[in-house]
Amino acid sequence: MKTFTYTITEPVGIHARPAGLLVKEIKKYQSAVTIIKGEKSVNALKLMALMGMGIKCGDSVTVQLEGADEDAAATALEEFFKTNL
């Protein structure tokens, strides 16, 4: 299992478009990706649930990856967060 934490800098938070792009990005890998904010966690493949977390600018989230390609997925997702969120 791999994890990393990231603080959202996108002013409107994880809104529809980046959430959709994130889902697309995750689909490229086999690993299961969970996004955790505080006590809540969500399967990051689920767009509506992800948007329902209400993740805002300045929130710190933990991204947890588990699967055969978790190392590659973690590197790619970390880059994705930096560029889009």
Binding site: T7, T9, P11, V12, G13, H15, A16, R17, A19, G20, V23, K24, N43, L45, K46, L47, M48, A49, M51, G52, G54, K56, C57, G58, K82
Partner: protein
């Protein structure tokens, strides 16, 4: 003649017969299905059709209204194929043996309620998207075709409100304008109407009666007036207005890519004022030459606590890389006075406009300032950055701010973090003090930018927020113009440049005067760029300059 007042959200004049948009609503039966596998397949089929349709709509929207409009349908597409949404529907069909239409409707209501209960207005608005997507799927399932416009002639379209997919799907050649009962300036319909150049008025409530249908109506998207049965005089006046607007619009289109150059070959830079990275699109569309004022406050206002260095860095970097090497001037934190932020815990002041604000806060609490300056210098590696300090009154303030910049640069160098050595440092000229000692200030910085709103407020002792002051708050007052002229002279004597980033910059009645003063840059809201370019290109400073400059010094006609 009946005049109804709404909120104009997309300028332009539309005139024609009023037509009420009728939504084809599918009546949905709830029933138990025996073959849940077949019912699930029926849903999957409709879902696939919806996804294909949305993809086509996205391309249509991209062609008609640009990437931003297309993005909306791409979002809808993602919702339609969302795993979460699909699973909830599957559960209804397989678990509760519900028919597909009712299952989709139920799940839509459930997700819409989730979005509505969120505290962020952006997320609340997404409930409309879920409903819109679900209505599409239900429509496909039940074979109902969504409402077109059953009229041979172009009409002024009235509706309670319009979903974005409805707006894009309509045949635009048949629409002279939109008038809706609900909606706001930031609603999708308003945004789409603006990008497509169709007049639109929202928020007329129930004033538009069904019996008006078919009668001649004029909608003025600039003023928000909806006129039913106009008399001949009104009709003539509005037709003239429409012709004038069309002429101007066409003219402005031809100005894209043209230089901001007067007839006698003097050029001026026309930049944009922006408030967040999201405004970059508008800068691009309106052909802005750079960013003359990026207000950094949004980072602080949208946050519950002080934004970190990394958060700030990312936002600044986004704008700098987005502008692709064009100049970007970022103003350091300008809060206090009318902009208050809770977590700063600023003491309550009797007279906040003259109190602890902007650079004064930054120099009193240098830790906040250092964080911002570090973020700015780190971002400077990604484009052409200028840093501007607001609310300067004394030379020592500028020296202290510059010292902090030097310290930050030294630290970055030590840590091996890249930054641009040639970041220009400038100040706002927005107090009479700064204008009067601009000869000395010019020796300290690389540029000036006049903030004319505050400069007017402080020069004329008129509170900007007080609407009763009306005629006393006169930005054309010779005292204000003389201060700008003085600052311009001192800037040029010392080999630095001067711009104007307040509202006065976009005031076309002063463009010739500013050109006469030799102002180097005007920074205005993106939509004002092309009208301003037009005004510059009409000017011949050889004719007007001496007279205008004399007018400021001698008897100014207005006073």
């Amino acid at each position: 003649m009946i005049t109804i007042q709404g909120k104009g959200v997309s300028a332009g004049v539309g005139m024609g017969p009023l037509y009420f948009y009728r939504r084809a609503t599918a009546t949905i039966s709830r029933r138990e299905v025996a073959d849940t596998v077949a019912e699930w397949q029926r849903f999957k089929g409709a879902q696939t059709t919806a996804i294909t349709q949305l993809g086509e709509l996205a391309e249509k929207a991209r062609a008609e209204a640009g990437d931003e409009a297309a993005m909306l349908f791409e979002t809808h597409q993602m919702m339609a194929e969302d795993l979460d949404y699909e699973e909830a529907i599957e559960e209804k069909i397989n678990g509760e043996k519900l028919n597909a239409e009712a299952a989709v409707r139920d799940v839509a209501a459930q997700f819409a309620a989730m979005f509505e209960s969120m505290d962020d207005p952006y997320m609340q608005a997404r409930s409309a998207d879920v409903k819109d997507v679900s209505d599409r799927i239900v429509g496909i399932l039940s074979g109902v075709v969504q409402g077109g416009i059953a009229s041979d002639v172009p009409v002024l379209l009235a509706a309670d409100d319009l979903a974005p997919s409805e707006t894009v799907q309509m045949d635009k050649t048949k629409i002279l304008g939109f008038v809706t009962a609900g909606g706001s300036g930031s609603s999708h319909t308003a945004i789409l109407a603006r990008t497509m150049g169709i007049p639109a008025i929202v928020g007329v409530g129930d004033a538009l009666k069904p019996e008006y249908e078919g009668r001649t109506v004029i909608a003025d998207g600039a003023t928000g007036d909806v006129i039913v049965d106009p008399d001949d005089m009104t009709r003539d006046r509005m037709l003239k207005k429409r012709a004038e607007q069309l002429r101007l619009q066409r003219l402005l289109e031809t100005l894209k890519g043209q230089p901001n150059e007067t007839k006698d070959g003097k050029s001026i830079r026309i930049y944009c004022n922006i408030g967040s990275p999201e405004d970059l699109h508008a800068v691009d569309v309106n052909d802005g030459g750079g960013i003359g004022l990026f207000r950094s406050e949004f980072l602080y206002l949208n946050s519950k606590d002080y934004p970190t260095e990394d958060e700030q860095f990312e936002a600044y970097r986004k704008v700098l890389s987005g502008m692709d090497g064009k100049e970007v001037i970022i103003r350091t934190l300008d809060i206090g006075a009318d902009k208050q932020i809770g977590y700063f815990n600023l003491p309550k002041e009797e007279n906040p406009a003259m109190g602890m604000r902007a650079l004064r806060i930054c120099l009193t609490r240098p830790e906040i300032f250092q964080t911002q300056i570090r973020a700015l210098y780190r971002a400077s590696a990604y484009g052409k950055l200028g840093i501007m300090f607001p609310m300067v009154t004394s030379v020592w303030e500028v020296r202290e701010a510059k010292r902090i910049c030097t310290e930050v640069k030294r630290a970055l160098k030590k840590e091996g973090i890249p930054y641009d050595e040639h970041v220009q440092l400038g100040i706002m000229i927005e107090t009479p003090a700064a204008a009067i000692i601009s000869d000395r200030l010019a020796k300290e910085v690389d540029f000036f930018s006049c903030g004319t709103n505050d400069l007017t407020q402080y020069t004329l002792a008129c509170d900007r927020q007080n609407n009763d002051l009306g005629r006393f708050y006169d930005p054309h007052h010779p005292a204000v113009l003389r201060l700008i002229k003085l600052a311009a002279e001192n800037a040029h004597k010392n080999g630095i440049w001067i711009g104007i980033c307040g509202e006065l910059g976009a005031d076309l009645t002063l463009t010739e005067t500013f050109l006469a003063m030799g102002i180097d840059e005007l920074s205005v809201s993106p939509r004002a760029v092309l009208p301003l370019r037009n005004a510059v290109r009409m000017t011949d400073t050889r004719e007007s300059a001496p007279r205008l400059l004399e007018a400021i010094e001698d008897e100014y006609p207005a006073n």
